[in-house]
Amino acid sequence: MKTVGSPWGSTAPFMALLALGSGGCEPATNADSVEPECQGVPAQVAGTWVLSGTGSRSGCENDKLDTDRFDLSSAGIAVAQNGDTLQLAEASETFELFGTVAGSCLEFTTVEAVENDSIRYAWSARVTTDARRAQGSFSGSGPENCISSGTFTAEW
């Protein structure tokens, strides 16, 4: 398209194409599919976390571990944050935590050794506006091939 009095002169067609391309003809980038709250500066979540929640467990090899409801709690977990990366403040032989923070979106994984087995949880939460807690859901596996899920709150 040609524009009159355009200061771009003979480059106008090229620029027009460029403008069109930037307007939506190119494939969407990852930044476009991310929820708005998961963008921007990562929330500051470092501290001693205490988890609480409820859930259910099923599919265990030992059916005595199946339950319609359990209460979840935790000891204080010291979590360190480096930019958008989360990890334990102190390494442990029996417990691991690693995850990311994007905006107010918190995603982390815990793995705990239990006797000759392990329990793995995947946590997903939203940090509240006061940045003192996060609320979300979790899913887990183990021990004895149990499958668990529920909701939780993390406070620090």
């Binding site: 409801r69 935790s74 442990s92």
Partner: protein, 318 residues
């Protein structure tokens, strides 16, 4: 009791004649003579006699003189249908005086040896004269085959009782009840009792629940035969147990989950028991028993090994 040597000397030598009989019983009479000779030889000296048949005193004295005996035994063997009547006499050959008389009725020919055993001591004066006009078949049978079968009693027993678990078995309940049905075979001092029972907990509002169905047999010794008699014993058997209780499940340490769920566990198992108590009104048709029992099952249910309980109850014996 054998006669003294002095008594025997007065009779010796002694001879036994063939008893008077009907023609068809000659062999029987000869056999009886020999049986009697065998018995008499245990106490006195016996001289053999020819096949002389005598049923009267005079005949017997003549035969005795001819044989050279001092004492002669003679008599009659009379058949009455299948039964036999044996009359035996012992007489002094010289004086004709009768020193022994035996008169027996026996039920069958097979009892002649027993008759000879009974008659022999009478003839030589070792036992008082015996006259039995009743059926000897019954008497000799009792003498030769003592009745080993003693009387006893048997009947149904219904028992009601209470159960107190002792080692956190039986769903951890504090108390339960029992209803039992058994069949008791009771003799003077022994009682054998196969039984089946049902036990359950007395906690209708709680989540904990147990059931037990023992199928057992017990044996007991009864001390005494009066109306009040203590007894003690035990037994073994199998039982079905069901244990349902709420259990707390804790998983994890850093991140911990806790849940309380009913846990159901049941199994068949071997078991045993010890029981003691008192029988009351024992001489009556309907009797009572008060008992205390310790019971153990060899199984592991809901983490409790070998659940045990005390049971106290009252039984009515019909």
């Amino acid at each position: 009791m054998a006669p003294t040597p002095a008594d025997a000397a007065l009779l010796e030598p002694l001879t036994v004649l063939t008893f008077e009989h009907i023609e068809n019983d000659r062999d029987l009479s000869v056999a009886f003579r020999r049986l009697l000779e065998l018995e008499l030889r245990k106490s006195v000296s016996v001289v053999p006699s020819p096949e002389s048949v005598c049923g009267s005193a005079d005949c017997a004295r003549e035969a005795g003189v001819e044989i050279g005996a001092r004492t002669v035994v003679y008599g009659s063997l009379i058949r009455l249908g299948s039964k036999l009547r044996v009359a035996a006499f012992a007489s002094d050959v010289q004086t004709g005086k009768t020193s022994g008389v035996a008169d027996l009725a026996i039920g069958s020919e097979e009892e002649l040896d027993t008759a000879a055993t009974r008659i022999a001591p009478v003839l030589i004066g070792d036992r008082a004269n015996t006259t039995q006009t009743a059926e000897l078949g019954t008497l000799t049978s009792k003498e030769t085959d003592p009745d080993l079968r003693r009387g006893g009693d048997h009947g149904v027993v219904v028992r009601l009782g209470g159960v107190v678990p002792t080692n956190n078995g039986y769903s951890g309940a504090n108390a339960g009840a029992e209803v039992g049905l058994s069949y008791a075979f009771e003799t003077r001092n022994f009682l054998i009792e196969p039984r089946v029972a049902v036990r359950w907990n007395l906690n209708p509002s709680g989540a904990d629940e147990f059931w037990e169905v023992p199928i057992e047999i017990g044996g007991y010794y009864i001390f005494g035969r009066g109306d009040v008699a203590p007894f003690a014993g035990g037994g073994v058997g199998i039982r079905y147990l069901s244990d349902r209780r709420e259990r707390e499940t804790v998983i994890g340490q850093t991140i911990q989950t806790r849940s309380i769920d009913p846990q159901q566990d049941d199994a068949w198992a071997f078991g045993g028991f010890l029981r003691g108590g008192i029988m009351v009104l024992r001489t009556y048709d309907v009797r009572l028993s008060l008992s205390l029992e310790y019971n153990i099952s060899f199984v592991d249910l809901n983490g409790v090994t070998n659940p045990q309980a005390l049971t106290a109850g009252v039984g009515v014996h019909f």
